[in-house]
Symmetry: none
Subunit: 401 residues, 2 copies
C-alpha cells in the first residue's frame, strides 16, 4: 500500500481538472418485491452513460464488514486512512456545525441532562429540549469565565451542544464527565497525562459554574461532556497532492470535513442544480472539486426506498450541466451504503466509476452494485481513489526510475 508520503513525492501540478462527486449512502440492497436495488430501480441515463465511458468497481471505504460513519467514509476517499486519522467526538461535533477550530482548541461534545435532588442523572437528554431552548441555555453558559481561557458553548440540535476552550497550554487528554449511564452523578473530569492537569482544573471549574447557572431549570439542570479532542493534524490536500481543492457541499458536516483536509469551501445553494452552478462559476479557479450530494443518505436512513430512487433520478437529470464541463477526470462514488431496507449506514461496498480520456474502459454499462462488480477496478479500498484520480489527470510522476 502506497502511503501519503510516497504520493507527496511524486505529485505534480498540472492544468487538468478533477471532479469527485460523492453521492452519500448511494449503495443499497434489493427491494424484497422487485429484487432490484435503489440504483437498479432508478432511471439514470446520465450515470449509465458515464459508466460506459469509465473504469468501474466497488470500494470498501474502511474494510469489508465495517460500516463507516460519515467522517471515516469521506476521509478514506480523500486518501486519509480513517483507522490512522481518528477524529474525536468533540471535534466532529464542532465540524458538524461548521465551526472553524484553531489547532490548539479543545472541543467536547455536550448534552444537557436532568439530575435529581441528589445530583444523580435522571434523563441523559433532558427530555430532548427544543433547539431554541438549547440556544438560550448555551448563551447562559457562554458567559462563564474561567482563568485565562476563552469558552464558547455552541448549540447543535435538541439537547446537544459543543464546548470549545481556547487558550495556552491546554490538552485534550481528559476522561469524560458523562458516565453514559442513568442513576450516577456526572463525573469530574480527570487528566490522563501530566500536560492535561491544568485543562482538567478548567473544565471542572466550568462544570461547577454550569451546575450553579442551570440549577433552577426545570429539566436541563446539568450538562455532560465527552470526547475531548483537538483538530487532527491532517496534512492538507495541497501539501500532499499539490492540488488546489474546493468543496461544494450543502451540509455543514461535509463542509467541515473538507476544511479539515484543507479544501476551500465554496458558497452554494441548497440544490444539486445550485451546486453544479457553483462548480461552473469557480471552475477556472481550482483543479479539484468535491461535490457532495446528501439526500440519498438521508432518505435511505428514513427507510424510504422510493424517495431514494427519486433522489438518484433528480441527481441524474442535473448531470448534463456537469458533463458539459468535461472534466479531465470525473469520479462518481459514495462514502458508504445506506440501503433503504436496512434504514442505516451499512458495510456493503459502494459502486465507483472513474471517467477520463486515459482510463481503461471495461464492459460495465450501468452504474449499479451488480454491474460495477464486473468492472476493471474490481473490489478495492477507497484509499486508492486519490492516486487513481491524480494518475488519470496526469498529475503523478513515475514511482522510481
Amino acid at each position: 500500500m502506497i502511503e501519503l508520503e510516497h504520493i507527496k513525492r511524486i505529485a505534480r501540478t498540472s492544468p487538468s481538472k478533477i471532479v469527485l462527486m460523492i453521492i452519500d449512502g448511494i449503495g443499497g440492497l434489493p427491494h424484497p418485491e422487485t429484487g432490484k436495488t435503489e440504483l437498479e430501480t432508478a432511471r439514470k441515463p446520465n450515470l449509465n452513460r458515464i459508466a460506459r465511458d469509465s473504469v468501474c468497481g466497488l470500494i470498501d471505504p474502511v474494510s469489508p464488514g465495517i460500516t463507516p460513519g460519515s467522517a471515516p467514509g469521506h476521509l478514506a476517499i480523500f486518501g486519509y486512512d480513517p483507522v490512522k486519522y481518528n477524529i474525536g467526538r468533540g471535534v466532529l461535533e464542532a465540524v458538524g456545525i461548521d465551526v472553524e477550530l484553531k489547532a490548539q482548541d479543545i472541543a467536547a461534545r455536550g448534552n444537557f441532562c436532568t439530575v435529581d435532588d441528589q445530583g444523580l442523572i435522571k434523563h441523559r437528554r433532558a427530555g430532548r429540549i427544543s433547539t431554541d431552548k438549547n440556544a438560550l441555555l448555551c448563551r447562559l453558559l457562554s458567559d462563564i469565565a474561567v482563568e485565562g481561557v476563552e469558552i464558547s458553548v455552541l448549540p447543535v440540535k435538541e439537547h446537544r451542544f459543543v464546548l470549545i476552550i481556547r487558550g495556552q497550554g491546554l490538552s485534550p487528554d481528559l476522561t469524560d464527565s458523562d458516565p453514559q449511564q442513568l442513576g450516577l452523578p456526572p463525573r469530574k473530569v480527570d487528566p490522563l497525562s501530566h500536560q492535561a492537569e491544568k485543562t482538567a482544573r478548567i473544565v471542572n471549574e466550568f462544570l461547577s459554574q454550569a451546575r450553579n447557572r442551570l440549577k433552577s431549570q426545570p429539566s436541563a439542570n446539568m450538562i455532560l461532556l465527552r470526547g475531548f479532542s483537538r483538530r487532527p493534524d491532517l496534512p492538507s490536500m495541497s501539501e500532499i497532492y499539490k492540488l488546489k481543492p474546493a468543496a461544494i457541499a450543502t451540509y455543514p458536516m461535509y463542509r467541515g470535513l473538507a476544511r479539515l483536509v484543507g479544501m476551500q469551501v465554496l458558497p452554494t445553494g441548497d440544490t444539486i442544480t445550485d451546486q453544479l452552478s457553483t462548480l461552473r462559476r469557480y471552475y477556472a479557479d481550482f483543479d479539484f472539486f468535491f461535490v457532495h450530494f446528501k439526500s440519498t443518505d438521508s432518505l435511505g436512513e428514513d427507510g424510504n426506498f422510493q424517495a431514494k430512487v427519486q433522489a438518484i433520478e433528480e441527481l441524474d437529470s442535473a448531470l448534463p450541466d456537469l458533463l458539459s464541463l468535461d472534466p479531465d477526470v470525473l469520479i462518481v462514488t459514495g462514502d458508504h451504503s445506506t440501503p433503504a431496507t436496512l434504514a442505516m449506514h451499512s458495510w456493503h461496498p459502494v459502486p465507483f466509476m472513474l471517467r477520463s480520456k486515459w482510463c481503461r474502459r471495461d464492459q460495465v454499462a450501468e452504474f449499479s452494485e451488480k454491474a460495477c462488480l464486473a468492472g476493471g477496478m474490481g473490489r478495492f479500498s477507497a484509499l486508492e481513489i486519490m492516486p487513481l484520480a491524480l494518475a488519470h489527470a496526469l498529475k503523478l510522476d513515475k514511482f522510481g526510475a
Copy 2:
C-alpha cells in the same frame, strides 16, 4: 486494515446466530480427465442452493502463494493474523492431542530416535516404532523427577510425543536438542535468554535421565526435542467479538485450536450427522458455532479424488438439518485447498459463501472454485471473514461517527 482492537471497540452482543462451517481442504484442482475439480464433480444441491442465496468469493487464508498449515488456516478464519500470532511446534503438538495447556506450561515436540554406540543419531524416528510401544516408553519417561517441576510425556503417534513441563519461573526460550541431521549427537539445549537458564538446566537433566532409562531399548534408545513454546497469548473470541462461541469438531487438533481462541468445545460424535445433531442440541446456548468437517482434507492428502468427491456429497446430504435451523449468518468455506491431484495442502484460494438476510447476493449459482470467482466478495483475505460475519449478524456498531 482493521485490527482486532478496533473490532473490539465496535462489537456488540445480540441474539443473532452465526454458523461457520469449515470444510477442511475443500479447494481443489481439475481432474486431468474431466477438467473438473472435486467440488465441480460432486452432486451437491444443498451447497449450490446456499450459494444462490449468498454473497460468494475466494479467500486467501494467509496470502497468495502461501500454503497454510491447519493452525494458520483456522486462526486466520477466526480473525487472528497467523503471521502475527505464531503457534510454537511444541504447543501445536499438545493442541493436536487435545491437551489443555496452562498459560505458563512449556511444551516441546519430541521424537524417539536411535543413536549408535558413540551416541550419534542413526534414525531420527527410531524406525517409526508403533504407537503402543510409544505409549509404553512415554510412561517410562513420565516418571522422571527433576527439581520442583511437574513433567508429562504424552504419546502422539508412532515415534512422536509431547513433553510438557509445569512449574514456576520457566521460559520457552531454548535451542532445540534435535540437530535435525543424522551422524550428529543430540544436543544439549541452550538458554536463549537469562530467564531461560533454569529451564535449560531442567531440560538437560531430563535428557540425561531419559538417556539412562532408554539405553537398553533396541531402537528407541534416545529422544530429540524441538519447538519449546508456550501457549500463545490470544485474546479470546468473547473478549474481542463479544460472542459466546462453541466448536463442534471430531479431530483433537481442531478442538485444541478452538480452545486456544476461547471457544467452548462441545461433545459430539464421529459423523457430520452427529455434529449437526450437536449443533441443534446446543443451538440456544451459544451465538457462534464453528463446525469442522475433516475428511475432505484427509482424502485430498491421500490423493483420492473420487473419495473426496464422495465426502463432499456426504456433507451436502447432511445439510438440510443445518438449513432447517436457519441461522442468521451461515458461512461455508475451508482453511486451505487440498487438491487430490497434488495430494497435499496447497496455496490455491478457497471458495467462500456467506448467507444472510442482509447479504448483497451475487450471480453465483454453484459452490465451486470457478463460480465463486465471480462472487460479490471477489478474492479477499480470510482475516475479513469475522468482521463480515459480525456485520451481517448486525453485531457491529458503526466505525466513527
